[in-house]
Symmetry: C2
Subunit: 458 residues, 2 copies
Amino acid sequence: MSKQGGAKHTAESPDTESRADIIIKGGTLLSMVEGQPPLTQAVVYIQGDKIVHIGSLDQEKILPHAVETINASGALVMPGLINAHCHTAMTLFRGFADDLPLKQWLFEKIFPAEAKHLSPESVYTAALLGSAEMIRSGITTVSDAYYYQDSTIKAFHESGIRAVVAQGVIDFPAPGVPDPSKNLKVGREFIERWIHFSDLITPGLFCHSLVTCSERTLREAMEISQDFSLPLQLHLSETLEEVRGVEKKSGLKPVFYLEKMGLLHDRLVAVHAVHMHEDEIDLLTERDVKVVHAPQSNMKLASGVSKVGYMLRRGLCVGIGTDGAASNNDLDLFQEMDSAAKLSKVSTLDPTSLHAEAVLKMATVWGARALGLEKQIGTIEVGKKADLIIVDTESPHLLPLYSPASALVYSATGSDVRDVIVNGKILLRNRSLLGLDLPRILNDVKLIARKIVGQTAS
Amino acid sequence: MSKQGGAKHTAESPDTESRADIIIKGGTLLSMVEGQPPLTQAVVYIQGDKIVHIGSLDQEKILPHAVETINASGALVMPGLINAHCHTAMTLFRGFADDLPLKQWLFEKIFPAEAKHLSPESVYTAALLGSAEMIRSGITTVSDAYYYQDSTIKAFHESGIRAVVAQGVIDFPAPGVPDPSKNLKVGREFIERWIHFSDLITPGLFCHSLVTCSERTLREAMEISQDFSLPLQLHLSETLEEVRGVEKKSGLKPVFYLEKMGLLHDRLVAVHAVHMHEDEIDLLTERDVKVVHAPQSNMKLASGVSKVGYMLRRGLCVGIGTDGAASNNDLDLFQEMDSAAKLSKVSTLDPTSLHAEAVLKMATVWGARALGLEKQIGTIEVGKKADLIIVDTESPHLLPLYSPASALVYSATGSDVRDVIVNGKILLRNRSLLGLDLPRILNDVKLIARKIVGQTAS
C-alpha cells in the first residue's frame, strides 16, 4: 500500500557491479531520512561494513553478484533499532520481583540480589542472553549502563551487536567496585582499556543519579567523558522522591542543579526525565542535552509519565530505551515504541500528542544522535554503517499494511524481525541467530537462576 | 523454577487408559483454579471436547495411547485466553487511520470507511483474518460485537474459535441495518437463527452506547437478551464526551441512568468503563454487572484510564479485551495484559495496584464469567471444555522463569504461543494454523485493502 518514494535515494553508485557483499532486494525501504517516503521494490547493496548503494528494482533488472542476496519481498527494510538505555545483564533478574512498592523492589529485592549474584561470570552470561534477545528483536545498537562491564563488552563483542557500554558510577559500594572512592579511577581505566578495542564498542560512564552521586563525582565523570569525547549517561528525575531529594540537597530543581554544576552539556544523556517542569525541558533543549524515554519501566515501577510530546515539540532530542529486564520485563523496542505513543496519548488525553512516525525516529535517528553516533547509524544512507533489519509483514497481525510506520509501532513486535545485519555482518537470518549458541546460553542462564532461587530461599 | 503444586489437580480419573484423544505431557500447568499453584511435569488428557484427567508425570510413568501426544516440556500449559471485547472484522481498518483526534478518526475515517467498504463478503474475510491472528496468539474465545454478524459466525465456525457473537444495535443506519427502526427485529432474528447452531457459538446483542441508543432500544435489547439468557454488551463511559452526553440527556451519571432503566443486570457486560465514579463502580458491583477493560484502545484513542485496581478490590468481575484492530492495532491479549498492569500502576503511581496474577485471571476465569461461560471454560479442570494453549518459554525473552504469571504478563507476546486447542480440537500446532488457509486469507485481505486505498484516494 505504501507509495513509491519520490525522493532520490541513490546518493552515489560506485563500481558496485562486482563488489557487493550483501544485496537486499524487493522490500519496502524506510530509510528514516527526513522527507524520504517509503520506497517499494528497493535494493540495498552492502560492502564490508557499509551501505554502498540504494536503488529500485524497477530500474535495476540485473543485479551484481553478491556473497549473500536477501529477498525482502513482503517485508520492510529499515535501520536497526537503537535501544538507548539498558542494563542488559539485569535479564538475570527478569521476573525475579514484580508488583512491589518501588523501595521494597529495589532495596529488598534487586540490590541484595545484585550484591549476591553479580559476578564477572554471571554478567557475561546474562549479557549474552540480553544480546540474543535484542538481536532477535531487531536491536542493532544498545546503550548499556551497569557493572562488571568488561564482561558485558566480552558478551557484546561475541554477539556482534553495536554498543555504548558505560561503567556504573555511584558513591556507594557497587558490584565490582567495593570502594566508592575509586569509582572514577575504575571508570577512567575502563574507558582507556576499551576505547580502541573495536569500531562496534564505545566505552563510557554512567552516573547512577543526582542523589547517589556527589557533586564532585558528577563533575569528574563529565570531565572524563569530555576528555574522551564520550556520552555521559545519567538517571535524571525518574521518581518524585529522587526530585525531592535533589531539591532538599541543592535547593534547586534537578536540571537547574545540573546547570549550576556546569553539566548541561550536549554529551549528557538524561535517562527517564519523568518529573520535569517545562522550564527544565526548555533548558535541556537550549543546551542540546539528550533525553532517553523508557515508558514501560516508568509504567511498571509507577514512576510517572514523561512529557515526551512537549519535549519533541520544543525540539529536544529524545531516544527510547527498554531499561533493564527487571522493570519491563523484556528488551523489545517494538513494544516500547507502542507504549511510548499510547502512554503519551492517554496521559495528555490527546491522540495527536505523539505520532507513530515520531516514535520510529526516537528508536532510530534520534537514538543515534542521543548516543553521538548519528554520523554512523540511525538511517539507511549510502556511506553509513550497514546496520539494518528486515521485518516480515506477511502475518495476520500486520495486514492490511496501509502505513509502514503504523504497522511497526502499533502492531509489530520483536518476533516479526526476520533478518538483522550489524556492521555489514548478518547476525539473524530467517529468525535464526547465526553467531550465538542459544541453547548453551539458555542452559547457562537456567543454572545461574537455579542458584539464585536456591540461595534466596535458603 | 516453579514449585510442585501441592493442591490436588486430579478430580476424577475415569477409565482413561484407552480413551484419551489428546495427551499433553511434561509442561508446567497453570490451571487458573483459585489456590492451585503451578504444577510442573503435568499431564492433561483430553477426550472429545472435554478435559478428562489431570495428573503428574512423576506418578504416571505409563501413559495411555492417544491419537495425539503433545510434549509440553519447556512450556506453560494454561487455559486459552478470552478476548472479552473485539470488533474482529475491523482488522480491515488496522492502521487505516491513526494519531488523529477521536472525532476526526471516527467520523471522518472509520464510519465512512465502514459505510463504504463493509459487506457480508468483506466482513467474512476480515473476520477470518482476525480469527487467524487470535488463534495464533492464544485466544480461544472471543466476544465479538459488530455488523454483518452472519459472516462473522461463518468465519469463526470455519476457524474453530469459540465465540460470543453480538449483533450491533444502534439508533442510526448501520452496516447491514439501513433502517434503525428494525435494529431489534434484526437482532432477535439473528439470535433465533444461530442459537442452536453450534456449541462454540453464542449469539447475542451489542448496544453501541447510551448516547446512540434510546431508552426504548436499550430496554428492548435487554428483554431479548433475558428471553434467551444471553449477555448484553454495551460500550459504557468510554469517553468524557459520552458521559457528558448521558448526563445532559438523563441528568444522571451513566450507571445511575442504567439503574433507573432497570438495566443493571448480571448479564450486562459494560465495556470500557473508563470514566466512572466510585459510587458507580460500587453499584455495578452490587448488581453483579460485568466489566470489560480494553486498556490499549483507551490509551491509543486517548479516552482515559479505567480504575481497574479499585474495581477488583471492590469485587467487580472484570474481563479484558483488545477492542478492534483500528484502535489497538492488534488482537494480542498478551500485550493487552501487559498494558493493563502497567497502565494501572503508572496511573495510580502505585506499583502494587494490579498484579500479574490478577491480570491473568481477567484474561481467563473472569473473562469466562463476564461472558456467562464460566461453567465451560476459563480454567483447566476435569469436566471443562478442552480450551487450552501451550506457551513456549524456551526463548531468551522468557528466561529465567522465576514466575509463570510474570513471564506471561510482562514478557510473553502472542508469538510465544506454540499450540492451541479449542473444544478438544487442535487449531495451532507448532505455530502452524491447521484449519485455515492463511496464504489465501492474507491474499484476500490485500485485495480488499487495495480497493479501500484506491476508493479512498479517488
